[in-house]
């Protein structure tokens, strides 16, 4: 989605699951843009770009794989594109299952794999508008 993820969007997503009564556990991961200080300059925003076609294709593959591996009721992933300011949310992962361990494990795996396998790039923008390219650990 374009820009930051609004917390009210997350609240609405949670509320929508009230009708799915076989769910016993939700696990949510939220990524927030951190105001890192690098050589005396503070990150004020991250601008995300992606190879969108490939990212969507890869996300679809990951989704199929996770549903095969874990007994999930549902899984939602939203990643920001464009500029997201420090303190705002840039990643929303939401897994639901009958039991907590499945939801938690699936959530952790999908977050790690998004970071490692999705063709998305973050440009860290400093207050003087200079930038550096983010590196995932």
């Amino acid at each position: 989605m374009q820009g930051a993820i609004n917390p009210s969007f997350i609240a609405d997503s949670i509320a929508k699951h009230a009708s799915k009564k076989d769910i016993g556990a939700h696990s949510i991961f939220l990524g927030q843009v951190r105001a890192d200080v690098i050589e005396d300059k503070t990150v004020v925003a991250i601008e995300y770009t992606a190879y969108e076609n490939l990212a969507l294709q890869k996300m679809h593959e990951l989704r199929e794989e996770l549903f095969t591996k874990y007994d999930l009721s549902c899984m939602h992933v939203h990643h920001s594109l464009g500029k997201v300011k420090a303190g705002e949310l840039c990643l929303f992962v939401f897994t639901s299952s009958k039991h907590r361990q499945t939801a938690i494990n699936a959530c952790e795996e999908i977050v790690e794999r998004i970071k490692a396998e999705l063709p998305v790039w973050g440009k860290e923008i400093f207050e003087d508008q200079s930038h550096q390219w983010k590196v995932n650990n």
Binding site: G31, Y48, T49, A50, Y51, N53, L54, Q57, H79, C90, L91, V111, I114, K115, A116, E117, L118, P119, V120, W121, G122, K123, W133, K134, V135, N136
Partner: protein, 75 residues
Amino acid sequence: MKIKIIAFGQIAEITGKELVIEALDTASLQQALRDKFPALAEKKYAIAVNKILVTDNQILTDNDTVALMPPYSGG
């Protein structure tokens, strides 16, 4: 062969987001890119041909799209 190149992240700052290069395979394409943009020599990037990652040399055909992708940093 005229190959459409799309570049991302740090690599796009060197090459621009899109360009067309004449090349027969991915090895000659990378050589042509290094000749045109010497700054690429020290950069790390993966190559995808029509959205499929390739590591070995691959023959290219007209209208193939080759993506130059630096290490991912989403999330």
